[in-house]
Structure formats: C-alpha cells, structure tokens
C-alpha cells in the first residue's frame, strides 16, 4: 500500500493580525503548525502501514520554510517527504491547490491511497480532498474516522454524517479525508529524530511538475477575494462583572428569570 498524506502548514490562528485598511493578513512573526486534522490523516496512514505494510510519503505545497514541518512528520513515522515549492503555486484557491497536489502525487509515481485532514484550521474550505480525487479520477470517502483494507484493492471507510454513520467500500486508488480528532496521533519517535534531521526532502518546482501553467496558483484560481471586513458584531451590552460564585449565581439566576427561561 503506497500512501500519500497531504500536510498543510497553517499559521496559528490566534497570532494572525488583520490590516483592514490594506485588506491583508499580517503573517510576519506568526508561528505556524501542521494543520491538526492532517496529523490525524498521518496517523491513519501510519496505522494502515503498520497493519498492511507499504510506504507513507508526506506531501506539502509551500515555501522552503515548510521543510522543518515535513521533518517532524518523518520523525513521527513517515518514510519520506516531498515539497511542492514554486512562486507559481502561490495564491491558489481550492481548484488550483487540488490540481497542484494531484500533479505532485502523479509526479512521485502515484498512490494507492491519498489521505488529507477533513479541513484546515486557517479558514479552510474542506474541499481540497474531493478536488484531488476528481483530478486523479479516484474514488473518495470524506469525513472518515475509521479505515481498513478488507480485501486486496478494496478500502472500507466509516463516515460520520449528520443523520448517522455510514460504512462504504470503494476500490483503490482512493482519496480519504480524515476527521480532525479521529485518532490519537503518536508522539515523535526520538530515535528517528536524527534521521529526520538528515533526511533529504525532495523539492519539486513548476518546471519539474510539468503541469499546465494556467491551472496553477493565481491564474488557475477562479475565485477571488473581493473584500475583507470586520465581522458584523451584534450590539451587545458588554457588562462584565467579577463576582464571588454565590453572588455571580444570584445575578445570573435573576437575568435568566428576566429572560423568561428559568422557572420563577
């Protein structure tokens, strides 16, 4: 089983500042993390490899500064890492991002199984996995919390839906989006750390990718951010009190009765 896990490096949301006049996000000095749900996807891939054998490649798209995050994924257990890095990839929306990642997967020889997190924490759309599946003409299973290979070439996935839990079987190759929090991600293996630091990370640029230039980055992105604005906050009373628990409880009880939701 050859698996590719797509990892996104995202800014810590609480550290991003917005410049409303320039309508830009100020990311300088902001620390980043691997998108949490993508770590659940990595753990799923490692568990599949532990059970059925095979190889796990982590794949990301971004600047060379993302390399240390890929080394973390190797230290956790991935066999190798690939970074798609080129200015031509910048400014991509879901269409161009899914295209670039799909091209990257093909450039490294394809995959039986592609795993992604179900959504990214930085205002992500949770639409990239489905897009990759379409570009690769592969089966898909989204919002998955459990995965197994019951027979050769068949993937069984459990999806959590609003009205129930669905278990599907699809033929490989397939793309799966793994629910954030679906599993407990193993710790970094410190015996692997030195190896991860030394590991060579393959960097693929637009030329090597051999992709259709018009489908990459900004030119390949049909959606455009036309404006940023402050979230319209409803007028709130903003009464903030520091009170002893007993006094606070009495005050809250009074308020809830006034609002007509507590028995009087």
């Amino acid at each position: 089983m050859r698996s590719v896990v797509c990892l996104k490096v995202v800014p810590r949301p609480e550290e991003v500042r917005v410049n409303l006049e320039a309508k830009t996000l100020e990311r300088s000095g902001v620390r980043s993390v691997i998108n949490p749900a993508d770590l659940n996807a990595l753990e799923t891939a490692l568990a599949i490899r532990d059970r059925y054998g095979g190889r796990v490649t982590v794949l990301s798209m971004g600047p060379p500064s993302f390399e240390p995050y890929l080394r973390v994924a190797i230290a956790v257990g991935a066999d190798e890492a690939v970074l798609l890095s080129d200015r031509a990839f910048g400014g991509a929306d879901t269409l161009a991002t899914s295209y670039t990642l799909a091209q990257g997967i093909q450039a490294i020889g394809g995959a039986d199984l592609v795993l992604c997190g179900d959504e990214s924490s930085d205002g992500g759309t949770s639409q990239v996995p489905q897009g990759i599946a379409e570009w690769l003409d592969a089966a898909q299973a989204t919002y998955v919390d459990r995965l197994e290979v019951p027979r050769e070439g068949i993937l069984r996935a459990r999806r959590l839906l609003e009205d129930g839990t669905e278990t599907l079987e699809v033929s490989l190759p397939a793309v799966v989006s793994v629910l954030g929090g679906a599993n407990e991600v193993r710790f970094i293996d410190y015996d692997r750390w030195a190896m991860a630091e030394q590991a060579s990370i393959r960097v693929i640029d637009a030329v090597e990718l051999g992709a259709d230039r018009a489908s990459l980055g900004l030119p390949g992105s049909p959606t455009v951010v036309a404006g940023l604005r402050e979230v319209r906050k409803p007028g709130r009373r903003h009464e903030v009190l520091t009170l002893e628990p007993g006094v606070a409880a009495a005050r809250l009880a009074e308020e809830l009765r006034r609002l007509g939701v507590a028995r009087t």
């Binding site: 949301p13 609480e14 550290e15 991003v16 917005v18 409303l20 996000l25 949490p36 929306d93 879901t94 269409l95 959504e119 930085d122 205002g123 759309t125 949770s126 639409q127 990239v128 489905q130 897009g131 379409e134 089966a139 898909q140 989204t142 839906l161 609003e162 669905e166 599907l168 699809v170 629910l179 954030g180 929090g181 049909p222 959606t223 455009v224 951010v225 036309a226 604005r229 979230v231 906050k233 409803p234 709130r236 009373r237 903003h238 009464e239 903030v240 009190l241 520091t242 009170l243 628990p245 606070a248 409880a249 009495a250 005050r251 809250l252 009880a253 308020e255 809830l256 609002l259 507590a262």
Partner: protein, 324 residues
C-alpha cells in the same frame, strides 16, 4: 428548460425529507435570483418524486427532480455524474448547496469536474454592483470575514452553513416539476454501502431556543452543563476543542465548522471566544459568558459576562434555579 444564467439550488434529501438547510437556502435564493434578475431552479435527487412536489412550494420558478429507485442513498460518483448532466446544458450562473457533510462531499468534487470556483461555508450572501454573487466566509483568525466572488467561470458554486438563513414558510401556489429519469444500474455507483447506523437520537441546535455551551475551561465536565441546561430548558452545545476532546458528541459543535445557532439565550461557559466559535452564536438574542480570564475575547461577544470559576458558579446557579 430554464434559460442560462439561472440560480440553482441543490436540495439535499435525507430519504423522504429535506434537512432544514435545503429549505433555508432555497428560501434565501429567491432574493439572490431576483437581485441577479434571473430564474430560480431547485434540483433534487432521490428514489421517488413525492418530496420534490413539496419542494415546489418554496418559491422556485422550476423544480427538477432526478428520480430512480436506486437513488435511495447518496453516492459521490453517481451524484456528481447526475448533477453534471443537468448543469452542463442548463449553464446556471450560481449553484448553492447546504454545507452538510454530503453537500460538501459533492460540491468539492463537482467544482473540479466543472472546472469552476467554489466558496465554502458562507454565512451570508450578497450581489455586488457587477452582479456577481459575493459569499462571505468568516474566519482568518481575527474577527474578519472575506467576501469571495467567482467572476469568470460558472456556475459559482457556494456551500452555505446550516442555520444562517431562516426556514421559509411554504406557499399556496406550487411550481411546475420537471422529472428526469436516468438509466442506472449498480455500475453507476462509485461505492458500495456495507452498513448504515442511523443516529438513535439526533439533536439540531439550530432549532434550540436556549443553549448552554462549554469550551476548554469546562475541563470536560459536561454533566454540570447538562444540569444547568435541564434547569432552563436548554440544549448543550460545545466548542471545537470540547468535541475534538471527545467530551461531547460532534453534532453539538457550534461555530464555523459546526452549526450556526440563533437561540433566545446562550450561556457560554469556559470558551475563550475565538471567532471560529463566536460566528456560531452571533445571532443569539442574549449571550451570557463565564470565563476565568478577564481578557478572554468571549466577553466582547457577550451581553453579560462573569469573570470567575465556572464550576462553583454553575453549581450555585443550578441550586438557585432549583430552589425557586
């Protein structure tokens, strides 16, 4: 056949009924179609046609129902193929879907099939001066939202969060229904369903009038929240941290990745107030927040804030409400 450029709404079905979001977006899409000066078409896919006829009373100019006995369940490949074959000849300007799990499963695949743009999880819709649909997406870390347009390709595909638009009332008059009967067999499916366990009970927080919501600061003690909710006739909701920690079911998640609620009263306990969460309570009538940290941003989103330890406060509050 409706002229090109119409607004289409995909009304997802759960068996014979429509989840609320299907009707919410259909109700709101009427004003979008009017602003764009075009027709409104509702599209639904299922095993039989009766639900489609009920859909015809929610303001669309045309209802298209794709029917076949095998269409009892959603399948990515099959539904993508079916929608593609309806949408390509019709050439709509906009396609709206509910941001449910299967709605997003379909939207993401269909957008690439049609090589068009997709705006996900919008919480409001506007039509700008150039007659482009603007979908507003909250997030980006700091109390802002981005307006996204898809000016040069169509349809502009947009998924809308459940609960952001009110449920419309059915009207007396009903629209013409066009029935499409595709030829299908088992090979039309991309997946095989080997099991389905319906939820034994289901909670829909978008319908709750009173909510008691817990975050990280509850340390997982949702029994305490349940007691308070019981006292004031409310349902329990949670932040993403709380559902990801397994403290409470995922369907109780409120916010950008959960549901947008509009209760009369929301009591928020131990949630810091990240914008990804507060977007889910901003339509609440009255917001009460309890948090240990006086600088927590949740107080910016609250009518009444109490700085203190939620454990003893909630216990005494339950006591006070129980006594009366």
């Amino acid at each position: 056949m409706t002229a090109p450029g119409a607004v289409w709404v995909y009304a997802e079905r759960h068996g014979d009924s429509f989840p609320p979001v299907s009707l919410e977006i259909l109700g709101h899409a009427r004003s979008v179609a009017d602003a764009l000066g075009t027709k409104l078409v509702a599209l639904t896919v299922g095993a039989d046609g009766a639900p489609a006829r009920s859909l015809a009373r929610y303001g669309a100019d045309e209802v298209v129902t794709v029917e076949h006995p095998l269409l009892e369940r959603y399948d990515t490949k099959l539904f993508t193929d079916l929608l593609e074959s309806e949408l390509r000849p019709a050439d709509p300007s906009v396609l709206l879907l509910g941001a449910t799990r299967n709605g997003q499963d379909l939207a993401g695949r269909l957008a690439v099939r049609l090589r068009t743009g997709l705006t996900a999880h919008v919480t409001s819709l506007e039509v700008d001066r150039e007659k482009h649909l603007v979908g507003w997406v909250p997030g980006f870390g700091g109390g802002i939202e981005a307006g996204v347009v898809c000016p040069n390709r169509r349809p502009a595909i947009v998924t809308v969060r459940p609960g952001v638009f009110p449920t419309p009332e059915p009207r007396g008059s009903s629209t013409a229904v066009r029935v499409v009967r595709p030829t299908l067999d088992e090979t039309s499916f991309g997946s095989r369903r080997v099991a389905f366990e319906p939820k034994g009970f289901s909670v829909d927080l978008t319908r709750s009038e009173v909510l008691v919501v817990g975050g990280r600061g509850t340390d997982g003690d949702f029994g305490r929240l349940q007691r308070l909710a019981h006292c004031i006739g409310g349902e329990v909701g949670a932040t993403r941290v709380a559902t990801d920690s397994g403290w409470v079911e995922r369907e109780r998640m409120i916010g950008q990745t959960g549901v947008v609620t509009r209760p009369k009263v929301a009591v928020i306990l131990g949630a810091s107030g990240a914008v990804q969460f507060t977007v889910g309570i901003e339509k609440a009538g009255f917001v009460i927040a309890v948090n240990r940290d006086p600088d927590a941003p949740i107080f910016e989103a609250a009518d009444l804030g109490i700085v203190g330890d939620l454990g003893p406060i909630v216990d005494k509050l339950v006591e006070a409400l129980g006594e009366a």
